[in-house]
């Protein structure tokens, strides 16, 4: 682990909560009830943790054929770590064409 700055060192053993703003399209917009939704994650800020939080807060996401997350216009796997200033988008099953 990297050595933390003095302000953060005092909090290093406490879980930290971060808020992420997500864009929602298609059926995801219907599920969250709007074009945007804020999701708070504690300690783990990965795409996987975000998907779990979405499915816990909105169980309808569990019924979809798939659920993907795009970060700054690129699909990302569950291991990818999010930053609060990323453009994060919920991608339900696509159906263009």
């Amino acid at each position: 682990m990297m050595k933390q700055g003095k302000g953060r060192a005092a909090l290093s053993s406490q879980p930290e909560t971060k808020k992420f703003r997500l864009l929602a399209f298609g059926i995801a917009r219907d599920i969250v009830g709007g074009n945007e939704v804020d999701i708070e994650l504690t300690d783990a800020y990965s795409v996987g943790a975000l998907k779990t939080a979405l499915q816990e807060n909105y169980p309808d996401f569990k019924r979809l054929k798939s659920l993907a997350i795009a970060v700054n216009e690129t699909y990302r796997t569950d291991e990818h770590i999010l930053n609060t200033n990323d453009e994060i988008v919920i991608i339900p099953p696509v159906s263009g064409g």
Binding site: L23, F25, G26, I27, D30, R63, L64, K65, A70, E73, T74, Y75, V89, I91, P92, P93, V94, S95, G96, G97
Partner: protein, 138 residues
């Protein structure tokens, strides 16, 4: 060489075909996806398409670049429409020009198959008694 468009207005097949003209082309394959009047026997009133625009364009660009690389395509055009579409209206046009025809067919079919898997565009079918986001559920 590559022309990608996400449009809210009617798509123009003649324009797409003009865009892929090339003196070294021997075969052009074109796919035109239109709004069908029924889904599993049930009458459809119209379709509504929406897109996550910057990424939809980026993903269509990726498809076109793959086609140029893999099939030595001379020209690739992908135009997709969003908004409300009536029966018979065109949702997507893909045109690929290659020196020989086999490559044009393979590339054009790859494009529409991949578009339907990766490009963040969603369509809702509007029926008389409600609406359904296509392919959302298993």
């Amino acid at each position: 060489m590559i022309d990608i468009q996400l449009l809210t207005t009617s798509l123009d097949t003649q324009e797409c075909i003009r865009l892929v003209e090339h003196p070294s082309s021997g075969g052009t394959a074109v796919f035109i996806g239109t709004v069908r009047d029924t889904t599993k026997g049930k009458p459809v009133i119209r379709l509504e398409f929406e897109a996550y625009k910057p990424m939809a364009i980026a993903e269509m660009q990726k498809i076109a670049e793959t086609i140029v690389d893999r099939w030595s395509a001379l020209k690739v055009v992908i135009h997709h429409r969003t908004g409300s579409l009536n029966i018979g209206e065109i949702a997507v046009i893909i045109a690929v020009a290659t020196p020989h025809r086999k490559a044009a067919f393979a590339a054009c079919e790859y494009a529409i198959d991949t578009l339907k898997e990766t490009v963040p565009i969603w369509k809702k079918e509007i029926f008389e008694d409600g609406d359904v986001w296509v392919a959302a559920h298993p």
